[in-house]
Assembly symmetry: C2
Homo-oligomer: 267 residues x 2
């Protein structure tokens, strides 16, 4: 598969070496996956020595905390918090070929700094301590030129079979949808955990339900998978639940609001 | 395993036959699973002939729409909407041994009608068209006597390895937690689907994320699994997302409210 792509794109260069700027959850997992797939990480750069060294040790490469000392590589991947991104970009050698990994930052932010620039956005939730299998993670690409896009695509295909071209506007919507379907969903797992904990019940009682709820939408549209009191507007249960939450105004408000939203979403 | 249980409880009767009142999602899946596990469903009773016949045909048993004509069986399982439950119970022969399957209805509701009564609550999301594997579904039991509880436990163990004794107060909290971790979660899948649909993007892009989000909390506590802009209070992204949702006041309110709730839940 890889050889075929290689032949088709004989003219474009191959990205073999990467400098990684950032050592957070995404940078950590991406760095590991790149290394496992034969890409050499030539250096990790991070704000603090502790985080830079921790990741560099895992990847078996040198590190720096000084952006002015970035080593040359075929690609610089910048994976830092959105609000420090521009400050970081300003310090990177202008001749570098640079991608960022952010969902909600337009590619344009890079245009003023680097000729060859793009976005390499893996749509997944990453935690440092949890290994992820990149092979089916959607990697969303955008690039300043067709040639550079081809190179990024080759690189992405080493990690995943699920590579898409996604422009900045689409990526922003993807990221927003990801916040709802991952972060907000996880918050509801947390709320469930809390409700059970108060009664001395174990969170594991909810695990088969959580799994099945996620599995259902692999084959059904979410709207067709919906069950429970809100979708049939079972006021008896809804009122009982609101009463149970009477001493928790925040949860009560969430319950009431989401229930109404579910009911309103009915076809 | 089953033989061992049988020996231990030689004195208690075994439930071999069941009359099923209700033909909704839960009744359908429960009826199928009971049949597959050697329990004879002697009759299905439902409000409409269409629904009664549909389920009876699947289970290969007779049906009725008249509660006065319920056939005798070792157990009557009543699986109807909460708000019609009492109306149904009133019409069932008082000598019957009856359980309901509702999360938020106390067992006490049955006490006035039947000497042997209890609750048989499988904690799962059921849809008619989707087969479920009962073997790891938590079945939460409550009963009017230790003897009847033993019988229900034997029955439940035929379907699942995951049988718990859960009283009415605990079950109510479980059900409330299930609404958050299943129905509300599914609603956020639906919102994600809608946001992508507007940009012509396919919901399948979110599937690996949805799976991983659910998988993460199989081993991490939800609070430790959280990622995204809200938990680190990344105002740049949050503001951008709120702006994206400016023409959708309902989603905007949900976004803002849940983000704040996530931030406040930080340890």
């Amino acid at each position: 598969m890889f050889l075929v792509i290689l032949k088709q794109q004989k003219s474009s260069k191959m990205i073999k070496t990467v400098t990684l700027v950032g050592a957070g959850n995404l940078a950590t997992q991406l760095g590991k996956s790149l290394t496992e797939n034969g890409i050499e990480i030539v250096q990790v750069c991070s704000r603090t020595e502790t985080s830079a060294k921790a990741l560099a040790d895992q990847l078996g490469c040198p590190y720096t905390i000084d952006l002015k000392k970035l080593k040359q590589a075929d690609l610089v991947i910048v994976s830092v918090k959105d609000d420090v991104l521009e400050r970081v970009l300003k310090q990177i050698d202008k001749r570098s070929r640079v991608v960022h990994t952010a969902g909600s930052v337009p590619m344009e932010i890079l245009a003023g700094y680097f000729k060859n620039h793009g976005v390499f956005y893996p749509l997944q939730t990453f935690s440092k301590q949890r290994e992820v299998d990149f092979s089916n993670i959607p990697i969303c690409l955008e690039a300043s030129s067709v040639e550079f896009l081809q190179e990024l695509k080759q690189l992405a295909n080493r990690l995943s079979q699920n590579v898409s071209l996604v422009n900045s506007e689409e990526r922003e919507s993807l990221h927003l949808a990801a916040v709802f379907t991952c972060n907000f969903v996880n918050h509801f797992y947390h709320i469930g955990d809390g409700l059970l904990g108060e009664k001395g019940l174990d969170f594991s009682l909810l695990k088969p339900l959580i799994q099945e709820t996620a599995l259902k939408v692999m084959s059904l549209k979410p709207i067709d998978a919906q069950t429970g009191p809100a979708v049939r507007y079972d006021e008896t249960i809804i009122d009982k639940h609101l009463e149970l939450l009477s001493y928790k105004p925040e949860l009560r408000k969430i319950y009431s609001f989401i229930s109404r939203s579910i009911y309103n979403s009915k076809k």
